[in-house]
Assembly symmetry: none
Homo-oligomer: 221 residues x 2
């Protein structure tokens, strides 16, 4: 029997979830709470042997949210697995939950069968359950942990590049030469060159490499 806790402020959510995992007789709901604060209170009252193996935690809750609760509880109870069960999939919540100590992140839209399977797998192999779309977002976090840029559309205005010029700068950055750019947007390579030189003037540079440096570092592409 896997001792399981459910923390969610909505009664209906808890009921649905209980129903989903209870079809599978491996799960035994040993604790329910409506926010992080009462969850921690309840945990304190339990003896070591009665602690839940797995805690299913909603994110958005009054009083104390899921992230804060996981942050505290994962330190106090290192043997307990905390799994986020949320309707939200935005990067910030995912990131903070992981940092807090969550070992899994499941979207509520998943079917009961899938959720049960994932939790059983966590129990058996220790691999944290992660919904596919969440997994992809986590991968993106690993790919570029330093998201310094973004929201730099204003930076583009500074250089007064025309639509066409931005398009050509983009193609330049892909390593294409005049001929290739001309072919891909159906204009003469001479015209492409003319555009490039116009771009250089606007950027106050005089070579492809310098233009690309500005393009990359100022977020023009």
């Amino acid at each position: 029997m896997i001792r399981t806790a459910i923390v969610d402020d909505k009664l209906s959510n808890r009921t649905v979830l209980k129903d989903k995992v209870s079809r599978n007789s491996f799960f035994n709901i040993v604790l329910e709470a409506t926010n992080g604060s009462t969850f921690l209170d309840s945990m304190k009252k339990l003896s070591e042997d009665d602690l839940p193996h797995i805690v299913l935690m909603d994110i958005e809750m009054p009083e104390m949210d899921g992230v804060a609760a996981i942050g505290t509880a994962s330190s106090l109870y290192p043997s307990v697995k905390f799994v986020v069960l949320s309707i939200f999939d935005d990067d910030d919540k995912i990131f903070r939950a992981i940092k807090a100590g969550a070992c899994g992140y499941i979207l509520k839209e998943e079917s009961g069968t899938v959720i049960s399977e994932m939790l059983l797998n966590l129990w058996e192999s220790g691999a944290g359950p992660i919904s596919p779309s969440i997994a992809y977002k986590i991968l993106q976090m690993v790919k570029k942990p330093l998201t310094i840029k973004e929201e730099n559309i204003a930076a583009q205005e500074v250089f007064h590049l025309s639509e066409r010029e931005r398009e050509i700068l983009q193609l330049l950055s892909q390593g294409l030469e005049y001929k290739e750019i001309g072919n891909s947007i159906f204009i003469s390579p001479n015209t492409v060159k003319k555009h490039c030189i116009n771009i250089y003037h606007k950027l106050h540079v005089n070579s492809k490499a310098q233009a690309l440096r500005i393009a990359y570092t100022k977020g023009l592409i």
Copy 2:
């Protein structure tokens, strides 16, 4: 029809994989290669409209491995999705593949149905396909991130550039030409050029702009 490429040194693997995805008539295998190097060569010969949408890449291959191939190709062909298909699930390979630009990582043990489903989902929603056990390992990476230094070293190792070559790539990125680089580090412009061409070979490109694209997007500079 999803144009698909398969890169794997073992004929039997390619055959099995082709069989797995071909049961689903959405996939059209447009390119096969036995290592990263021949894959890049084949890609160069394709026109924009014939590029594969998805590339399924083995990791362990002779000549040029999957990580290096993805590193170069994902910079050169930003619209193409690169998915690793491997029997290995060790942290280092996963991490380096993601850093190189992979958008998914599937274990070969997955069934044909599952693989097809994952790839179709990638095609339809853009979410990268990730085997559950891999997803968990990626989560661990977010939990305990490497330092920036370690990351840059990881990225650099993919391309095997020497110290001097990195130095020159750095100067190249500042928009200097051969003469200027030569003057600034007191060597002949001919030597600078020789270094550049060596760099191009290691990066599998053939122009300054393409080399800089990889340098910027892969954190080499």
